[in-house]
Symmetry: C2
Subunit: 147 residues, 2 copies
DNA sequence: TAATATTGAATAGCCTGCTATGCAATGCTA
DNA sequence: TAGCATTGCATAGCAGGCTATTCAATATTA
């Protein structure tokens, strides 16, 4: 009996595994940062703003590689939740500067250690060399998919 | 200057990379199967039904590791799109048997080769040994996150 | 400089995750 | 067997992806 493309084994498929793994990561992160009043996409956005407060929506779109509409919705929820404010941009009246509230600044330590905890849990079964290799392989696959 | 958890580098974070990679996989798959009238979650569901037609919703939930409500919505869209029908289960009137339409059966070859193409594109920069290692590492990380 | 092109954001609409509820069918047990 | 617990699904509501569209502000250029 010939083997064809129709024999598709999801448990050996990189795409299937990537999706499953990402869902589990998101769930684990969600569990840990929910007590802080944060959702995963908000955390990712905060990572950039903790580093550089006062970015524009466009800056965030480029740094996080999501669509502009996705970021617009995330920022709307973050504004609703008191994590950011938007202030006028003196250089361009179309764009606004996204600024962290004191509440958002205060979350940095707890949120980053929650995320570090998720990574440690996920990688707990891997040796240091394997962890390094895993991150490197994912980066290369991301590169290949971005062409 | 002390290094703390507050120095969180997203490009070295397994969770961030997993999310980014999964989004790129999903986009690539979506592009390739859109002409077939399929969306990614529908394809995943079809993979199980091509293998075993006549599963229940509960079977699909267990095999694909998604929540029951998620699968209920996916099946609703698949029924709307003429990919499945639901027939009475003689053994349990609560559950129905999900059956493929001829249309869905006819998509198997094209859809699986589209997915195979995405995997090949994604892994194109990796050696055969690296591809093997990558799949194995993802499986182990999934296992660690499932506890 | 007036007309046109580009750019930054907002909005609408869809898919796919999730949690929380509720309901009907089935199973168990006192 | 009557009552309670469990199970299979549907639905509501939300987050966060996406595309497509629109609008106002800015930039370019004829």
């Amino acid at each position: 009996m010939l083997s064809t493309d129709m024999d598709f084994k999801k448990d050996a498929s990189a795409g299937y595994l990537a999706n499953h793994m990402a869902r589990l990561f998101a769930l684990a992160l969600h569990d840990r940062i929910r007590p802080l009043g944060l959702a995963p996409a908000q955390f990712m956005t905060l990572l950039e703003l903790w580093e550089d407060d006062g970015l524009t929506q466009k800056d965030l779109v480029q740094r996080l590689d999501v669509e502009q509409a996705t970021m617009a919705n995330t920022l709307k929820r973050m504004e609703r939740d008191g994590l950011i404010t938007r202030t006028e941009n003196p250089e361009d009246r179309r764009a606004q500067l996204v600024r962290l509230t004191p509440k958002a600044k205060a979350l940095q330590e707890d949120a980053t250690s929650a995320a570090t905890g998720v990574n440690e849990e996920a990688l707990s079964a891997l040796s240091p060399e394997e962890r390094q290799a895993f991150v490197s392989l994912m980066s290369r696959v991301i590169g290949a998919l971005q062409d």
